[in-house]
């Protein structure tokens, strides 16, 4: 499969983040067209395109917009989720920093389609300081041209955008955690139902969409759902950004029609493994996705195929691990992440993630016990599905898959009190570890 340039059409142009460059490429024409249509027509086009949310869950975007109740007592809100914090994911950053106007145009169309309140928010993670300055500049440019503000394109539609910076909490990428954080609270997810589409931010119906999802919307309006569906396969449509990192020769963001073959992506487009070593494992969709072994990677990277293979496409953050990586060490690092980022609200997740990290650490230190592999599976069983949000389920993904697929490596740590020959532990065990 050949790479395409749809979402990334502008990013290589000089000064691609300026409104002039965006307008030269036909920018804001889709928004102009959309604002002359009826909101229901736009929702129908998005439904017809079969666009699915790019943030991780793959929920059909048009359906989400259709859930917003008409005549709700409080205003409807559009929130853009730019809290890109899933380890291994860096696709939204490209759009934010290199083509911010594509995102703004998508937001104008989405807001009009769901009859949003005149103010929407982009929730960007605090670490993307540069990205937030780029977005603020882009918003100013759009306001100066009249694309944001009162009576946009003479349609009578008022709309403006505020960039809301997070402050370093992975959990705020979760829909309701994000809503809490916009309201000025600790980012602890809410009980669902009510779902955000009914009661969300400031008590109004709320649609939360990922950056890449919103950036697909202008193309659906300007080129039509059939053009959009010409990429990918039925139910898994459209252009898709893939992030590849880890032990590959050419890590980066690659754009393909939805469903590029994972093996082809790693070996043909990313140049294969560093040092031409053997592949050990691939995480196909960010840290939460269960690992795949080398014999399982000959599959199209789309929502349904990866799900069928027992993992998930998630945010399409592909992390490649070669034969020199110690799996127990790698899973320890991911568990440390989830233990650090657990918001502390639900006991199974708060306690369980910390215990999993401790057990993996003691295996690395040569203090593991014979039953530890099974103990990890048992703990995972007591975390999964037992908390308010999906963080607990995410945390057990790498643990369960690695114990099942690399049990010999776990047992080797117990019997020999060291990593398997030929594998490396990347950290020194005598260094202080930061507290959570």
């Amino acid at each position: 499969m050949e790479p395409i340039k749809v979402l990334t059409a502008n990013v290589d142009k000089p000064n691609s983040k300026s409104i002039e460059v965006y307008l030269e490429g036909g920018g804001y024409e889709a928004a102009r067209k959309a604002l002359q249509m009826k909101p229901e027509e736009i929702v129908q086009l998005v439904k017809d395109s079969e666009l699915r949310g790019r943030g991780g869950a793959g929920f059909p975007t048009g359906n989400k917009w259709g859930f917003v109740p008409k005549n709700a007592p409080k205003p409807t809100y559009l929130l853009c989720n730019a809290d890109e914090a899933e380890p291994g994911t860096f696709k939204d950053r490209v759009i934010i920093e290199k083509d911010p106007h594509l995102l703004l145009e998508g937001m104008i169309i989405a807001a009009y389609a769901i009859a949003s309140n005149p103010m929407a928010y982009i929730y960007i993670r605090g670490e993307f300081h540069y990205g937030s300055t780029v977005l603020n500049k882009a918003i100013e440019e759009a306001q100066a041209k009249g694309f944001l503000g009162k009576n946009i394109f003479g349609s009578g539609f008022d709309f403006d955008i505020t960039v809301h910076r997070g402050a370093g909490a992975y959990i705020c990428g979760e829909e309701t955690g994000l809503i809490e954080s916009v309201e000025g609270h600790r980012g602890q997810p809410r009980v669902k139902p009510p779902f955000p589409a009914v009661v969300g931010v400031f008590g109004g119906p709320t649609v939360v969409q990922n950056v890449e999802t919103l950036s697909c919307v202008p193309f659906i309006i300007s080129k039509g759902p059939d053009w959009f569906k010409s990429f990918g396969t039925p139910k898994n449509t459209g252009p898709k950004l893939y992030c590849v990192s880890g032990r590959v020769k050419k890590p980066g963001v690659y754009e393909f029609p939805m469903g590029v073959n994972l093996k082809e992506l790693i070996y043909d487009h990313c140049g294969g493994i560093v040092g031409d070593r053997k592949l050990k494992a691939v995480i196909p969709g960010g840290a939460s996705a269960p690992m795949l072994k080398p014999d399982e990677i000959d599959l199209p990277l789309n929502f349904d195929a990866v799900m069928k293979a027992g993992s998930m496409l998630g945010s399409a953050g592909v992390i490649v691990l070669d034969e020199t990586v110690c799996i127990v060490d790698a899973v320890w690092r991911l568990s440390k992440f989830f233990a650090h980022e657990s918001c502390g609200q639900c006991t199974p997740c708060r306690e369980g993630t910390n215990w999993m990290e401790s057990i993996l650490d003691r295996l690395e230190r040569g203090e593991g016990r014979q039953q530890d592999a099974d103990l990890l599976l048992d703990m995972a069983d007591n975390i999964g599905g037992k908390s308010l949000c999906a963080l607990g389920d995410a945390a057990i993904g790498p643990v369960i898959s690695s114990v099942k697929k690399f049990r010999d490596e776990y047992l080797y740590h117990v019997t020999n009190k060291s990593c398997m020959p030929g594998t490396t532990r990347y950290r020194r065990l005598d260094m202080p570890v930061a507290a959570h």
Binding site: M119, H164, A169, G184, A287, I319, R333, L334, C343
Partner: protein, 176 residues
């Protein structure tokens, strides 16, 4: 204050000193007033207000917590709860250069721990500590969303990408 156990490491820090007055600079106050116009509730301005405060003072002191709570009609406990939830709000002063090494998986397998360990040893610091001259604070940080240019070190607001021990050495000499 008096009723906290003297060994409690937070005893001195957790309570505001009424003799220390803090106030936004005129530019920050102007920005703060603009922020208030962008949200339907006052409380929603809390995260941006804390960012403003940290830009001005470098950290969120107990006095700042009280000041911000008064500005937004919130209890100091609510504000402190938010400050302590989010990693980026510094609960104690940091050095002029806050060096945060990403050690998450993609950075780890490209040898980020070598950089982190080198920094800790060279500057003789534990994570979160600051050098006596107030120049450097070292810390470990979770995924910065730049895994294609791993390993990444964040210095204050800027990313330094494709780092190595040699490059961090060079960087340390450049950061005066």
């Amino acid at each position: 204050m008096a009723d906290l156990h003297p060994d409690n490491p937070y005893a001195k820090d957790r309570f505001a000193d009424p003799s220390k007055k803090v106030e936004f600079s005129p530019e920050a106050k102007k920005k703060f007033d603009w922020i208030l116009t962008r949200y339907p509730t006052k409380e929603a301005a809390l995260l941006p207000a804390l960012h403003l405060a940290q830009e001005q003072w470098g950290w969120i002191s107990p006095e700042t917590v009280h000041y911000v709570s008064e500005l937004l009609d919130l209890s100091p406990a609510t504000v402190f709860g938010v400050v302590s939830f989010y990693n980026m709000y510094n609960q104690k002063p940091v050095g002029k250069y806050h060096l945060q090494v990403c050690t998450n998986l993609s950075c780890m397998v490209t040898r980020a721990y070598d950089i982190y360990e080198h920094l800790c040893e060279k500057l003789d610091l534990k994570p979160g500590e600051t050098t006596p001259d107030g120049r450097f604070t070292v810390g470990e940080v979770e995924c910065l969303g730049s895994c294609n240019t791993a390993p990444v070190v964040q210095v204050n607001n800027d990313y330094h990408e494709n780092m190595s021990v040699e490059k961090i050495e060079q960087l340390l000499t450049n950061l005066k």
